[in-house]
Symmetry: C2
Subunit: 335 residues, 2 copies
DNA sequence: CTGTTAGCGCGTTCAC
DNA sequence: GTGAACGCGCTAACAG
C-alpha cells in the first residue's frame, strides 16, 4: 500500500514533532520559517506523500466525490462525467467514477461502496434508484442527481426539460412543412422518453396534425433499436416525410436502415435527433439534433455538490437551456 | 462521512467483542452460530456498513485498483475501461477511474493521488508517462500498462501489434486491386502511429508499390483532423482509389470530407479504418476496420493486476489478436 | 472459539 | 509557536 514513508519519519528527520509537520502541511497554524525549511527539505528528501486514507480516517473527510454513471460506453454519459470532472478539479476535489449499469441492484451496491469509501458527496447521473433506496444509502452525505428528478429534499436535482426539447424538434419539422412526422421512441418506462413522446404529440396537436400511432415505433436509445424501429416504420407502409428520433443513437440506426433501402436523407426523409452527441457533427449527413449542454450541466453538478458539502446552498441552475442545432439532415418540403 | 454506526456499536449490541464481529465479517476465523445470529441481527438493526477507509488503513489494502484513462470522451478508452471494470468485478476489486488527459503533469498528479488513496494496484491506459516517472510514483504497488510498452520490469505491459494491424488493412486494399493507396497518419510522436505508418509502407513495398509521400497526410486521431487530412489529400490532385485512415475517428472525418465533395464510398474511393469503434458498424457506409479486442485486453489487464497484487505471476496474454472486419466501405477495383 | 491489547498514519485537542 | 497524548474505525497479534 501506498508509500512507506510517514509523517513521523519526516518529522524525525526534520527534528520536529509530527504535529508541526501536520500543521505546516495543512496550513492551519503558523510555523517558524526555519522549521518550514527543515520540513520541506526532509519531505522531498524522503519523497514523502501523505497517506490520504489515514487522513480521511482522521478528518472524516476525503476530498473525493463519488460519481455514478450508468454506462461507461456512452457518449451521453461521458459528456456528463467529463463536466463533473472538470468542475471538481477546480475545487480540489477528486472524482471517483463507478458505474451502475442501469441496474438498481448494482447501483445500490456501488453507492454503498462509495459511502464506505468515505466520499464527501455523491453525484448520480440518471439511473433508476428509488427515493427510499437513495435515502437509505446516502448516509448523511449530500447528493446531486443529474438528468432526472427526485422528490427527496436531501438531493439536489439537476436536469433538462425533455418535453421542451421534443417540442423544439417537432416544431422545426412542422415549420419546414412536414405533416407526416414519425417518431422513434425511447424505452417506455423512462421518464425522459415519456416526456419526449408527450412533446411530440402536443406539438403535432398544436399544429393541427392528427396523431397516428402507426407513425411511432419504439426504440431503446441504442443503434440497433433505431435500425429496427425504422424498418418497422417503413414496412408499415404509412407514408411520412420526416422522423424525429428519441435520441441520436437511435437516429444513427435509423440512418443506416434508410441507407440500406436507398432512402436519401434529407432528400426523401428528414431526420432530427436528440442529445447532439459529438459524433452527430460527423455523420452523413450531419444530423440536426436537440443539444443538451451536458458538459455544462456536469460542471453545475460539481459546483452544487461542493457547495452542499461545504454547507452552502447550491447556486441556482442557470442553464438547462436546450437548443436545436440545425444541420443537414432536415430540409424544407416544397410547397 | 460515511456511516456513523461503527463496528463497536454492532459488537456492543450483539454482546460480543469487536474482534469477533470483525472476524465474522471477514470470515477468517470460525464463529459460534449463536453469536453469528446476534451479530447479523444487530448489523441490520443498526444498518451497519463497514468503513472501508478505516479498514484500508488497518489492513494496508483497500481492494481497489486505480485505472488511469487519458480521455473520458473517447470510445477507444471507454472500451478499455469497460473491460477493466468487468474483469475487476469478478475479483472483488473495485476500479476507481481518473483521467490524465494526455498530459504527463496531470498524469503524474493523478498517479500520486491514486497512490495516496492506497490503491492496491494501478492500470495505466496509454498515456505518456516516462519510465522514470512511473517508477518514482509507483510506490511499490504493481502496475499494468495497456496499449504501450515499458522497459520497466515492475510494470506488466499489454498491447497490440499496430504494425501487424496496419499491414492487414493495407494488404486488404492491395488484394482488392488498389495500387494508389493514401494514408492518414496519427500524431507524429506516438508509437502506435509510427507503427501503423511503418506497416503501411512495408506492405506497399512488399506489393511492389512505390511509396509516394504525397499520398500521406497527417491527422491527429480525431474527426476534424480526418476532415482536414482528406481535403489535403484531395487537393493535392494526386489520384488514389483507396485510403487507409490511422484510426476510425479520422476515418469518420474523411468520410464527411468526401461526402461534401460528392465522392461516394466505396464506389469512388475505398476506406479502411483502425480500432473498429462501436460506431463503425453504424456509419454510412459501415466501415471496414481493424478490430483490436480492447475490451478483452481490458479484462486481461484486470486479471494481470489482480495476479500481481496477490503475488502470482500474471497469466501470459492469450489474445492480442487483431482482425480485419470487412464491411461496406471497401470494394474490389475492376480489373 | 473469543476477548484484550496494539497499532495502521494522520489530525487535533490540551498543555506549555 | 510547539510537543505529547489521544482518537478516527478496523484488523491483527497475543493470550486464553
Amino acid at each position: 500500500m501506498s508509500s512507506n514513508v510517514t509523517l513521523e519519519a519526516v518529522a524525525r528527520l526534520a527534528g520536529v514533532s509530527t504535529s508541526t509537520v501536520s500543521r505546516y502541511l495543512s496550513g492551519t497554524h503558523p510555523v517558524s520559517p526555519d522549521k518550514k525549511a527543515a520540513i520541506d527539505s526532509s519531505i522531498d528528501q524522503l519523497n514523502y506523500r501523505p497517506n490520504l486514507v489515514a487522513r480521511g480516517l482522521a478528518k472524516g473527510r476525503t476530498m473525493t466525490v463519488g460519481v455514478m454513471t450508468q454506462e461507461i460506453l456512452s457518449s451521453f454519459f461521458n459528456e456528463a462525467m467529463r463536466g463533473v470532472e472538470d468542475g471538481l478539479i477546480g475545487h480540489n476535489y477528486e472524482a471517483i467514477f463507478v458505474s451502475g449499469h442501469w441496474d438498481p441492484a448494482d447501483e445500490a451496491r456501488r453507492l454503498t461502496s462509495l459511502m464506505g469509501r468515505g466520499v464527501d458527496g455523491v453525484v448520480l447521473i440518471m439511473g433508476g434508484l428509488e427515493d427510499s433506496v437513495m435515502a437509505r444509502h446516502a448516509n448523511g452525505v449530500p447528493m446531486v442527481l443529474m438528468g432526472r428528478h427526485s422528490a427527496l429534499k436531501q438531493v439536489h436535482s439537476l436536469s433538462f426539460d425533455h418535453y421542451d426539447g421534443a417540442c423544439r424538434a417537432v416544431r422545426h419539422l412542422v415549420e419546414l412543412g412536414h405533416k407526416r412526422i414519425a417518431f422513434i421512441s425511447g424505452p417506455p418506462d423512462r421518464f425522459d422518453a415519456d416526456e419526449r413522446l408527450r412533446g411530440y404529440r402536443d406539438t403535432l396537436a398544436q399544429a393541427g396534425i392528427a396523431f397516428d400511432d402507426q407513425l411511432v415505433a419504439s426504440g431503446n436509445y441504442v443503434e440497433p433499436g433505431g435500425v429496427t424501429a425504422m424498418n418497422i416504420l417503413l414496412d408499415r407502409g404509412r407514408p411520412f416525410t420526416a422522423v424525429f428520433a428519441g435520441n441520436d443513437d437511435s437516429a444513427y440506426g435509423a440512418m443506416l436502415a434508410m441507407h440500406r433501402r436507398g432512402i436519401v436523407i434529407p432528400r426523401d426523409i428528414s431526420l432530427v435527433g436528440y442529445d447532439d452527441l459529438p459524433h452527430s457533427s460527423y455523420c452523413i449527413p450531419p444530423l440536426t439534433s436537440v443539444r443538451q449542454p451536458l458538459r455544462e450541466l456536469g460542471r453545475e453538478a460539481a459546483n452544487a455538490i461542493v457547495a452542499l458539502i461545504e454547507g452552502r446552498k447550491p447556486p441556482r441552475s442557470a442553464l438547462t437551456r436546450l437548443e436545436l442545432i440545425v444541420r443537414e439532415s432536415t430540409r424544407a418540403l416544397p410547397a
